[in-house]
């Protein structure tokens, strides 16, 4: 399987993502500079974390108009798998591939810590290696992870099982006390209606190899490989 990792000026998790899929899962990976215009030969795209364009104006706001984004929109429209992590999630929101916006964290601080998330939907190309209701420990590192959308969009996200990860405690209870950033409905990750685009604030690439002492993140990448293999073996 061929992964593509987009690289914007200011991306800083691009190598980590490439390392996770190459070393963690033995897959092919290519880093794709944002000035490129084609995603030919790519089976899945990772939009990595970082501070694209210095977070100027709004997080992800400038990156949405990079040349590669037209190809990404086309790729997503055709059903290609797109994973946005942290700033990558913010970019997917700005470009409209996922609904809603990210606001400044409730307590204004940049939060860098391990959190627990509950797998609310294990029937997606990004979570099929997880059990439904499984609790994952993943690191977050962001100042703008306070997910917000209007009540109508929120209801439809909930009704269509588009909320994939919610912040929870170590027992899997989804409660306000463990919501790190004020995110609506404890949302940590959502997918689009078609199911092929997924954005999450935690960093699975930072806990995808045994050297990290935690490999929960590998489940996300493994799921993408599973989904791809399933489609291409039938």
């Amino acid at each position: 399987m061929n992964f593509g990792v987009l690289v914007f000026p200011g991306s800083n998790c691009d190598h980590d993502c490439a390392h996770a899929v190459a070393e963690g899962l033995g897959q092919h990976v290519r880093e794709i500079w944002h000035q490129e215009t084609s995603l030919e030969g790519v089976d899945a795209v990772i939009v990595p974390g970082g501070f694209s364009y210095g977070d100027y104006l709004r997080t992800g706001a400038i990156a949405q108009f990079s040349p590669i984004m037209e190809a990404l929109k086309e790729f997503a429209a055709k059903g290609g798998l797109v994973l946005g992590i942290c700033n990558g999630f913010q970019i997917l929101l700005e470009v409209g591939l996922l609904p809603g916006v990210m606001m400044r964290n409730r307590d204004l601080s940049f939060i860098c810590e391990d959190v627990y998330v509950k797998v609310e939907n294990a029937a997606t190309p990004f979570t099929n290696a997880c059990e439904s209701g499984q609790i994952l420990k993943l690191p977050i590192a962001h100042a703008e992870g306070n997910y917000y959308t209007d009540p109508i969009t929120l209801s439809s996200l909930q009704a269509n099982a588009q909320v994939v990860f919610r912040y929870c405690d170590s027992d899997g209870q989804v409660i306000t006390e463990v919501n790190p950033n004020g995110s609506l409905d404890n949302i940590a990750g959502i997918r689009n209606a078609a199911g092929n685009v997924f954005g999450l604030m935690p960093h699975p690439e930072r806990c995808a190899e045994s050297v990290f002492g935690n490999q929960d993140g590998l489940l996300v990448f493994q799921s993408m490989v599973n989904a791809f293999t399933e489609v291409h073996s039938t």
Binding site: A61, M103, R106, D107, L108, D150
Partner: protein
């Protein structure tokens, strides 16, 4: 022409920065301040264009990039360049 653009959070959207500033003002003794909202101010210099052309361009700029209309409102004022 020159445009002065204000981008502000819609009413009803929680503004954590504004709230922190309000609390800080209260600490300084400005206890009558009951709300602070933080926004952005942009000055955009446009080339030669007539008023209606400039306005339609500004609207497009705000809708596409300068504001995220899910949570933000925008307004602008147009003024002619100052001649030096």
């Amino acid at each position: 022409m020159k445009a002065k653009i204000h981008v502000t959070l819609k009413s009803g959207i929680l503004d954590p920065q504004g709230r922190a500033i309000q609390q800080s003002l209260a600490t300084l003794g400005f206890s009558s301040v009951h709300d602070v909202r933080v926004g952005k101010f942009l000055e955009v210099e446009l080339g030669d264009s007539d008023q209606s052309q400039a306005e339609s361009q500004l609207k497009a700029m705000c809708e596409k990039l300068l504001a995220n209309t899910v949570i933000e409102d925008y307004r602008y004022e147009l003024e002619p360049f100052e001649q030096n």
